[in-house]
Assembly symmetry: C2
């Protein structure tokens, strides 16, 4: 019972910065050989291969063998779930970007400590 396999779902796949970099190297939608990706992202080849492997298992990229090369290509559709998920919260920042302000306030509150009389639920942030 340790963490769930990261390599199993898109959210986890894109959680890795490097992996996002690799995706970035394929963002134009064109296929690219591992070597090209390696050059672009400047990572040791084995690392790239591994990451590409994860991305492939999740379906974020696809491969085609061509001669001694393996052409990888972004399969953006697999990212849709993520998009759909975050999209749910879009309204929050689209509507009021000032939510950050609020966060600041709260951080301050936290810092101040237990001014436990803070504010009754009924009078606080129930916009």
């Amino acid at each position: 019972m340790a963490r769930a396999a990261t390599t199993t779902d898109v959210f986890n796949a894109i959680a890795e910065p490097r992996r996002r970099d690799i995706i970035g190297a394929l963002v134009d939608g064109k296929e690219r050989a591992v070597g090209d990706v390696v050059r672009i992202v400047r990572m040791p080849q084995p690392a790239v291969s591994k990451h590409l492997g994860v991305l492939r298992r999740v379906g974020v990229v696809t491969v085609v063998k061509r001669g001694q090369h393996r052409m990888y290509r972004l399969n953006a559709a697999e990212l849709k779930p993520v998009h759909d998920w975050v999209k749910t919260f879009e309204k929050y920042w689209t509507h009021q970007i000032s939510r950050i302000k609020e966060r600041a306030e709260q951080k301050a509150a936290e810092a101040i400590g237990q001014a436990h009389g803070a504010a009754p639920a009924s009078g606080r942030h129930e916009d």
Copy 2:
């Protein structure tokens, strides 16, 4: 040099399904006490506290102490980076949903194995 701290960025924070569940429990934007969240997501309290901790560190949720309760609240703005990132790929599926088909094809190809004559770069998927 083992993996980067997951608890450090939003992408990683939301990579955990449980964490997304918790976020879901706060999706209405209203503040909620840990206990409430616990009841909603049906997870042991310590677990919830930990996850909330991660989410808080990343800024996805904020806390306010009120009496013996800690009211957590979603700070959706922090999810914007994720949204912005995936949004980049939006066009792909918005435009042609049939990309899945292609993936299927490739999988088939893979399965078939090394029919290495697969297809010359010039005639394949350079749409």
